[in-house]
Symmetry: C2
Subunit: 540 residues, 2 copies
């Protein structure tokens, strides 16, 4: 709606003339004139109605008419385009083989300047693929106003992958991701996009890999299910992908996954911690489809309840140089609970799992730290002990701020399972200059264990006074609130004001976020859920 | 152990001589001499061994020998004794008909001066009944050293109860309780006693009555169980107390109950709130015995699960002047869950329920705010709506600090069910002067929903640095941690230091307590779970 209004509000030129030649263009100014009027004329002719028999010839004529007789725009390499990422350097983007200087459109972008700048220096397609509103003729016409060049067809192909690199087989990624580590790949969606949609597009879903992405042949894939034997101990199963899909009903769950290290960057500012500097984006939401873990375990003969403390351990196909796989476990009761909705997922937002998210099968444990939702799942084992994996025993645990690397004893803290209540501001961004008038603050809120977010308080004065934000979307099923709530607050702000925007959420157990980071600081930088603070300036 | 050591470490006088006549004694000094040696001599003689036929005569002789020929101590009324409550006014206590000035023993009391002072001005028996270590001959002998008088046998009887007073039928209460409201009765155990025992003695268990205590005849008592009808809708039952006890297995659960208003006094200090000024004692722990609500509802024909959102509503026999009963409800899923351990309790710490705690039957909902554990239970009803009661609809809900009595809309907030993580310091008390050397800090920690307390951090410097406290007692069953954990920390403290002791707990979902009160302030003063702070001075 907003985009359409903005588009139709601008004069649409009859022809896509390059009206803003780039002053830094290295190979002369674009040619003017030529047969650029031919295509619309032919299109109009074609609109008169044609018979099918005439179709093929017409297509060839049209192609001939559209094909330029000679390069009329300067040619640029992708590297050259990539140097234009800011208004100061001009903002260039590509679409197909065309290059555009959209600097003057940035502030007019209906989705916000910040969103358009995410594509600066690169291709528009990965972003347009996520935001369907761009798939309209008007948009492309508008864009053509800003054309300044073509991509050089003779550009050198990318260097061949290093076959010695264990990460050489990793899949391609969306350029919009904010990368915290390339190998292993750890990346988050930009905060600007995070709360734009309730379901995070697969391409932007935060990725937290511990090891290289395994290349899995879906035809030979087998999932092993094993138990300790004995009464109610289950039989071992080996399930192919078609068997997993056909033997068990497909169950769909919309669930948010969050990395234990989300918002670690804020914790590092108090005192250095060990870990990747995640901003607020190590959290995303998808609709997952797959077999319930419960159904698979019951099928294997396991009982609803087991005496004593039992666990269900998972192993991935991703392994370190010594062959040790990624592993984690969850309590048996959660694995078997119908209400806990634990999945062996093979679908993500209606598509097969992307390679970065566990193709062909991953665990999804709603309400629990992402680290237990093991990807590229190869083995499920019922055991009287938690997973012996490093990531269950000696990582992903919380400690007192007084514990340091000399005194830490991982056996003294429980492995993180359910996460505490969390929220963050995604708009505006820290340091932004916002116009006076009505300010819109947006963000997300979520809590572990299926606890519903019941309220988000927002302050514009550092926490001295509060307002209640509007929660968007539908109320979840109580006790099974696996997905985040997006929220927003609109408030008047005065020209010249310095704002410290703060948010804090309350969950269904009336748990709240702690005020400050210092008292929840921990050496590993996990569980960073203090009030989120964003300072902005209101322009005059 | 401590008491015995202290007792045997003191010289035990051969005779209970009054050695510290009270300077404020109104009726002269105690008589000296007399036949006070006769009793021990006779006791020694009796120890030689006697035949049964001689028993009755011997008893009479002993009585005659023990009976004083005349009052040898001054006589005091209970009111006079009650004026001696502090070391400055002298500390008097009674035991039986005897009056003691224990001022000089206060600091020697092995359980701590603060505990002994709880009985100052009144009878020792209610306290000794709770602390069995006093039931030893040495203790009474020690006490007799401090005898200064006798209770006046001619003292006027207490005034007759006001039969027009709806609270006239309330039961007698333990004098150690700290009363926040007499009518209806609302009282908490003194913080000094709270963390002394894992199970709170029934007599000291915090009492939160909303209305007069009903007088229930256990013989005619009936519990009504009703449903909405329809498939799986259950049949109506009317259960007598013997039926409830015999038809369903007795299930025992150790659970902490906490009032939503616990620690409200701290919230009032930030801004006034509406509600009783509970200190840290609106929380207590007992071992409850009764029928599982689940078993009763399944017996009545209700199904394990119901489509949609259903509730189980409770009504008490306590009613307001208009006949409206106290009421509350919990979600159907919790009521039916085997893991939630919801009881229709008829026992408390191995005894029948005291009248103040719901005799003959109350609900106990572990992990949930006390307000849902309806006492004097008369009716259980399955309903598609929450209880229509005032206390479910228009009380016991949390709001943003920005909501006041002009803007509050109770329909916007969920009824409190599970409570957030909580902890408090019970020793030392605010304003105390503690000796230099090793300081012992004690307290409790608990979280709602069966979430285990995994850590308590304690600071002695207002939260700038932290130490990890020792959790006492056994680790609970994960997910069913219904009872608090008591904790303590021992730390060296320097003479003359001013300490701000702070505690904060972490639960199994790594939820933490908020740093400050202001941002969780709410007009009703509920959910007060900020870090608990106690300032003390270390003596020189």
């Amino acid at each position: 709606m907003l985009l359409l209004r903005a588009v139709t509000g601008r004069r649409l030129p009859p022809l896509p003339l390059p009206r803003r030649p780039c002053s830094r263009s290295p190979t002369g100014s674009p040619a003017a004139g030529g047969p650029r009027g031919a295509a619309p004329v032919l299109a109009a002719l074609l609109g008169l109605g044609a018979v099918l028999a005439y179709g093929e010839r017409r297509r060839r004529v049209a192609q001939a008419a559209q094909a330029p007789p000679a390069p009329r725009y300067p040619l640029y390499t992708r590297e050259e385009v990539g140097r234009h990422r800011t208004p100061r350097d001009r903002v260039w983007v590509t679409h197909g083989t065309e290059v555009f200087d959209v600097t003057d459109f940035v502030e007019l972008h209906p989705g916000g300047a910040d969103k358009l700048l995410l594509a600066a220096g690169g291709a528009l397609e990965p972003f347009w693929a996520l935001y369907g509103v761009h798939n309209q003729p008007h948009v492309l016409e508008l864009l053509r106003e800003y054309k300044v060049g073509e991509l050089d067809p003779h550009e050198a192909p990318p260097a061949p992958a290093d076959t010695q690199d264990p990460f050489a087989g990793d899949p391609p990624r969306h350029p919009g991701l904010r990368v915290n580590s390339q190998k292993p790949f750890n990346a988050e969606p930009p905060a600007e996009l995070l709360a734009e949609r309730f379901l995070t597009p697969n391409e932007l879903f935060f990725t937290r890999n511990h090891l290289p992405v395994p290349a899995v042949d879906p035809d030979s894939y087998r999932l092993q299910v094993e138990g300790p034997g004995g009464p109610g101990g289950g039989v071992s199963l080996s399930l192919s992908l078609p068997e997993l899909r056909s033997r068990f009903p497909k169950h769909e769950v919309t669930a948010t996954l969050q990395c234990a290290g989300n918002r670690r960057a804020e914790m590092s500012r108090v005192r250095p911690v060990k870990g990747l500097p995640w901003d607020v984006g190590a959290i995303s939401t998808a609709r997952w489809g797959g077999a319930r873990l419960r159904d698979v375990l019951l099928h294997a003969g396991f009982e609803e309840e087991r005496e004593g403390e039992w666990h269900v351990c998972f192993e991935g196909l991703d392994a370190d140089a010594g062959g040790a796989p990624y592993g984690a476990s969850i309590p048996y009761a959660r694995a078997l609970s119908a209400g806990a909705d634990v999945l062996l997922a093979y679908e993500m937002n209606g598509r097969e799992l992307p390679r970065d998210h566990g193709f062909p099968v991953r665990v999804v444990v709603p309400g629990v730290v992402g680290a237990r939702s093991v990807k590229w799942l190869r083995r499920v084992a019922v055991s009287p002990a938690e997973s012996p994996s490093h990531w269950q025993q000696n990582d992903y645990k919380g400690f007192s701020p007084c514990v340091d690397w000399d005194t830490v004893d991982y056996s003294t803290a429980p492995a993180i399972q359910e996460l505490p209540v969390q929220s963050a501001i995604t708009q505006p961004r820290p340091g932004a200059a916002v116009p006076p008038g009505e300010l819109t603050v947006k963000g997300y809120a979520w809590s572990g264990g299926g606890r519903e977010v019941v309220r988000v308080d927002v302050s514009l004065d550092g926490g001295r006074s509060w307002r209640v934000a509007d929660l968007t979307g539908e109320r979840p099923v109580p006790g099974r609130a696996w997905a985040w709530r997006l929220w927003e607050l609109r408030a008047p702000v005065a020209a010249g004001a310095e704002l410290e925007i703060v948010c804090k959420a309350v969950d269904g157990s009336y748990n709240v976020q702690p005020d400050g980071v210092a008292a929840i600081w921990n050496l590993r930088g996990v569980l960073s859920n203090a009030w989120h603070r964003v300072r902005v300036t209101v322009t005059r």
